[in-house]
């Protein structure tokens, strides 16, 4: 029988050194007894075989995950943890994948132990309550806490990172942690009497606790699952729990049963700005009116109406299909990826985007949500028709020389009927009202092409179409 005596309850390095030597010597877990110095004195009397010297300097690998889990689990208060860890180490040498076996009793147990330690650490971070000794500049903050496991050293750095600018001590029965503004130190455990018993802010904290509680929704079990009773004795607010529960039903019934009071005289409000009404359409009033449009159901899921944008006397009106994700959020047409593509092509064709009016055939974004993204949906004919009157009124208000319809939806709106793109693109078409129109693809079509060659070719074609518009514009400018 080998008896290993570790330096302390949290002596991971001692355990690791002993375990490595034992494993290298092939000493089976059942032949090893583990204890901690000063806790089981009678064991010193029993005969222990000397720990073999690690003379051959052998080493072996264990998964990093094991080391991490062992460092945590060793802080558990259960005395069998050292033996369990050694048994796992022993078994890991034969089966390297052991830790993936979530159903193995040893693995499940060590995992639960590590989890209990983490939870205890988390609860210590949460439930430590500092009490101030002295005031302001010379104060010292002291807390009393009773952890389940040996976690003071594990949990202390959190407080150091958080409260580096104040002097504090956390006293526990096992071990006390101290921060003096420069270094962490630990001293042995003390009794509860050593800790201060009150703080001037606790009255405020209790007021807050009482006020933030909603007596109409009592869920005591849920509270106790997260804040078990064992913590209550060290929480200044916990003395309120019982009276709050006791009065909850009464308070909440009285809220329901109370007679309605005469409404308080409403306070003076800022009047919403009166809408300017205008008899004739101009782009600004149209935009305002369109913000409330409900001619089709698309308004419901969208953020806002995305109306056209550009100078009031622009000679060219570019019409796209509908706003996309970015346009819907920003409330402006062509600001997303397709907009960037358009900007580039316009520039190459010699057209200044700032001088054209840009709009869409459909003015709300149509989509279906898929988790964190929105999938674009093609607008249907009733939606295009419902939105067409906005296009018509925009057209009348702007009175451009040329309308450029980008993509099938735009073409349908501009021509009032389904108009194939490929058949009609690349030439100036006369509209019934005497205006000129040009048909081309939608820039997002270029974005969707998977093949880089096709993309480059189609982009050139798109730019060539836009150059036709530029040329016409140049000609009409000269004529004027």
């Amino acid at each position: 029988m080998h008896i290993i005596t570790l330096g302390s309850e949290t002596d991971f390095e001692g355990w690791r050194k002993a375990a490595r030597a034992l494993a290298l010597q092939g000493i089976a877990p059942r032949d090893v007894t583990w204890n901690v110095r000063g806790t089981d004195p009678e064991l010193f009397d029993s005969r222990s075989d000397p720990l073999p010297e690690n003379s051959q300097g052998g080493a072996f690998n264990v998964p990093a995950q094991f080391v991490e889990m062992a460092q945590t689990a060793i802080l558990h208060r259960a005395p069998e943890r050292f033996a369990l860890l050694y048994r796992l180490l022993w078994r890991l040498r034969i089966n390297h994948d052991l830790l993936s076996l979530a159903t193995d009793p040893d693995v499940a147990r060590i995992r639960d132990m590590a989890k209990a330690v983490r939870r205890d650490e988390h609860k210590m971070h949460a439930f430590v309550r500092f009490r101030e000794i002295g005031r302001e500049r010379n104060s010292h903050f002291v807390a009393w806490f009773e952890p389940d496991h040996h976690i003071v050293e594990l949990a202390a750095p959190f407080f150091m990172r958080r409260f580096a600018d104040m002097e504090w001590s956390i006293l526990t029965p096992d071990l006390c942690a101290h921060w003096d503004g420069h270094a962490l130190s630990f001293t042995s455990g003390v009794s509860r009497d050593e800790a201060p018993s009150e703080d001037r802010l606790e009255e405020f904290w209790r007021s807050y606790y009482t006020s933030i509680f909603n007596p109409a929704r009592l869920k005591v079990k849920a509270m106790r699952a997260e804040m078990p009773k064992k913590y209550w004795r060290n929480l200044p607010e916990a003395s309120l729990i019982k009276p709050l529960i006791a009065s909850a039903a009464r308070v909440s019934h009285s809220m329901i049963a109370a007679e309605a009071t005469a409404p308080n005289k409403p306070q003076r409000r800022e009047q919403p700005m009166a809408r300017k009404s205008s008899s004739s359409d101009n782009l600004a009033t149209l935009r305002e009116e369109a913000a409330d449009c409900r001619a089709c159901p698309l308004w419901k899921d969208a953020t806002q109406t995305v109306f056209g944008e550009g100078p009031a006397h622009a000679p060219i009106m570019l019409v796209g299909e509908q706003p996309g994700d970015k346009e819907d959020l920003a409330g402006k047409p062509f600001v997303g990826p397709a907009g960037q593509m358009l900007d580039r092509a316009l520039k190459e064709a010699g057209i200044d985007r700032a001088k054209v009016y840009v709009t869409n055939a459909v003015k709300h974004f149509k989509f279906v949500p898929r988790g964190k993204i929105r999938l674009h949906q093609k607008p249907n004919t009733p939606e295009i028709r419902a939105c067409r009157s906005w296009y018509e009124r925009e057209l009348a208000a702007l009175n451009p020389t040329l309308v450029v319809a980008m993509g099938a939806t735009a073409a349908q709106s501009v021509f009032g009927k389904i108009t194939p793109i490929q058949k009609n693109r690349g030439r100036i078409v006369d509209l019934d009202d005497g205006r000129k129109a040009l048909v081309t693809v939608h820039p997002s079509y270029l974005l969707r092409l998977p093949d880089a060659d096709a993309k480059a070719r189609e982009y050139e074609h798109f730019v060539a179409d836009l150059k036709i518009a530029a040329k016409l514009l140049g000609a009409s400018a000269r004529a004027a």
């Binding site: 994948d97 993936s100 979530a102 159903t103 499940a108 988390h122 949460a126 439930f127 309550r129 500092f130 009490r131 101030e132 903050f141 150091m160 990172r161 958080r162 409260f163 580096a164 600018d165 503004g181 802010l201 405020f204 807050y208 606790y209 006020s211 933030i212 509680f213 909603n214 007596p215 109409a216 929704r217 009592l218 869920k219 079990k221 849920a222 509270m223 997260e226 607010e237 909440s252 809220m255 329901i256 309605a260 009071t261 409404p263 308080n264 409403p266 306070q267 003076r268 409000r269 800022e270 899921d301 806002q304 970015k326 819907d328 959020l329 920003a330 949500p369 988790g371 964190k372 929105r374």
Partner: protein, 414 residues
Amino acid sequence: MDVQRKLEILADAAKYDASCASSGTEKRDSRDGKGLGSTAPGMGICHSYAPDGRCISLLKVLLTNACNYDCLYCVNRASSNVPRARFTVDEVVKLTIDFYRRNYIEGLFLSSGIIRSADYTMEQVVTVARKLREEHRFRGYIHLKTIPEADDALIAEAGKYADRLSINIEMPQEESLKAYAPEKDVRAIRRTMGRLRLKLDDAKEAKKAEVKSRVKAPRFAPAGQSTQMIVGADASSDQTILTTSANLYGSYNLKRVYYSAFSPIPDASRALPLRAPPLMREHRLYQADWLMRFYGFDTSEIVDQATPMLALDVDPKLAWALRHRDRFPLDIAKASREELLRVPGFGTKAVDRIIATRRLTSIRSADLARLHIPRNKALPFIILSDHRPQPKLLESATLAERFKPQAMQLGFDF
């Protein structure tokens, strides 16, 4: 009025906001000795729990509960006779620091009634955050309520100081908001959420480019944005609520949609249903929300035109499984991850462990406890190496009965 009385009034006024999260933000600490506080980016810390089962993580208060708006459901509506109070900026700052130093809280959640104008109110809220961050070098968590339609510069500044920003959508559908909160405008709310989303996306992009460009990216609400919907004040169905949630998650990349069971309030309006809050319904909505976000369920699989309300007696995944018995029993040794996630009682962690374990060994019914899977819930739906449910069980009309007396699952981590 003394500060303690103000605290009572203004915490009372803030408690109907369910959010108390302090997680998911950037890592900060004060090891340099020049400030106070740190964040816990992974898991938020709940410093206490009230008997309503809710976590207390932040000092959640209103700057003032005076309000121009008269939203029927709200304790602070203009026509209510509740006592009114207003903190000074310094009072909130001092309370936050004093509470924080004693480890009562992770930080501050500050909201406000609308006074004077959206911009004025937002400016006041931002001033508190600015003071905490710049004068007191406070590095704890800050959640600020964003006032819809506030000026872009104010929103940018709010995002510079806050970890999280939120705007409450309040009602699941526009009609209800119009009826109950005449001064609120759902489109103004959505437009502001949209602006936040764009700013969040920009900040993320800038952060990514930070290394390359060596220009420090401007900070904008690293813990993102969230919202809240009141459940049970209006007649909206769960289908309406969940469809709205799916829309909001997709549109504005929200970190969370909180559901708040409408609860009796002091000096309530008679126009509202004053009864015990529908806590179980609220709980089921959270479960459904989880199924949509982490379990691959589409809204239409959870609720539809035929069953617009979630069952109260069984959880929504079990309800789904009972409606789709033809998909079961599922052989655990072969099923895909997506299929495993749909088994009643299987959580995401258990599924990961099953997938790791089954590569090495077969899984038996005795193993369920070690995987922390509730036996009774799962066994009728799965095949294990030593278990196969009786063929008749899945067809039985009484299968659903087996699950009904089950005790309710306890709350989520807010």
